[in-house]
Symmetry: C2
Subunit: 202 residues, 2 copies
């Protein structure tokens, strides 16, 4: 595996995979078709259901990644880290349709998980392999795609036993939350509400 964080990667229970997105991180979307792989950034990704685990992501028509998703019916949503801010901005502001060398110039390194023919971006903190759930009206009218999560993994240094551990992990593993114009925020302090008197639900 080409990921430096590879040795820390553990599977995430699919019914808990919504927690990888619940705090609203900016994500990287990647896909492969006929041996061609690409990735882009997306700020508009969101959990949709628990079981089967689903998510939504908004993908502009003028992107190579969308073509690969639609051709292969599979894609990956991954959570990049603070250490990857430049990579995220690079793949989020350039299109492989105009810059075929975008992936190389961004410094994206691919790896795979056994049993899934999709490209995962090394160095992220979490990965969700998705099967595209075809919804032609949503895709055409809103650029809105629905994916069923069929495999999920996380870097156990920062997500373990179903919980993010940002407060205990290296700062460079914090998630990124994009605003505009190259400005992101990293996720910050933990805030806990005593649920002794409440039934918590996400």
């Amino acid at each position: 595996m080409s990921s430096a964080s590879g040795s820390y990667i553990l599977p995430v229970e699919l019914s808990k995979s919504y927690r990888l997105l619940n705090h609203g991180p900016t994500v990287l979307v990647s896909a492969r078709h006929a041996g061609e792989s690409n990735a882009m950034a997306a700020a508009w990704a969101c959990a949709l259901d628990y079981t089967p685990a689903k998510l939504t992501v908004v993908i502009d028509k003028a992107t190579k990644t969308r073509q690969l998703m639609e051709q292969s019916g599979m894609f990956v949503i991954q959570v990049p880290t603070r250490a990857q801010a430049r990579l995220v901005h690079h793949v989020g502001t350039r299109s492989a349709l105009k810059e075929p060398g975008k992936i190389e110039s961004a410094g994206v390194e691919w790896f795979e998980q056994a049993g899934f023919d999709v490209p995962l971006v090394a160095g992220c903190s979490a990965w969700m392999v998705c099967r595209l759930v075809p919804e032609p009206h949503n895709q055409a009218a809103y650029d809105l795609f629905i994916g069923e999560i069929v495999g999920a993994w996380a870097d156990s240094r920062v997500f373990r036993d179903g919980h993010w551990l940002f407060e205990d992990a290296p700062d460079e593993l914090r998630s990124l939350h994009y605003i505009a114009g190259g400005h992101f925020y990293a996720i910050g302090d933990a805030v806990t509400v005593d649920v002794a008197s409440a039934t918590a639900k996400a």
Copy 2:
């Protein structure tokens, strides 16, 4: 206006309103029908389009707020603050269908913006008044609602001129990002990528 932050509230240009959600905060959803108002928390809200500005939000069928949204065709997505963590958890874990006094026990204070018959939650940092865009299949199959943003405002202490100012604002105005079980993260440090050599886009 009953909001302590009322005097700081300024309109947000609709074409920039996506930035209120771009960093993935947990939101409060509120609605009113026939004089009855309610609010709930939602971690699954996301920007969908720039112009006209649209968003998505996932709302469980077993909620009073969903009934009010469907009856009135209007709802509000607002961004609560770190200072409101207990209120957010309270309205997010109790249903007015079972606890009619939920809004009062949560300490929710309503206010309004002229020209919109919807209830806004005082003390939040940003508010988006939405017209429900009917998509019966999405609503029935996925609990997924689309709103067109027809009015937007923010607390100018923390969002001004189209940008969040978390790093300069009081810490209690930071956005909340829910995980599960009463555990939130507040938004953290600013991370900026030099875009001199790139065309930035959200």
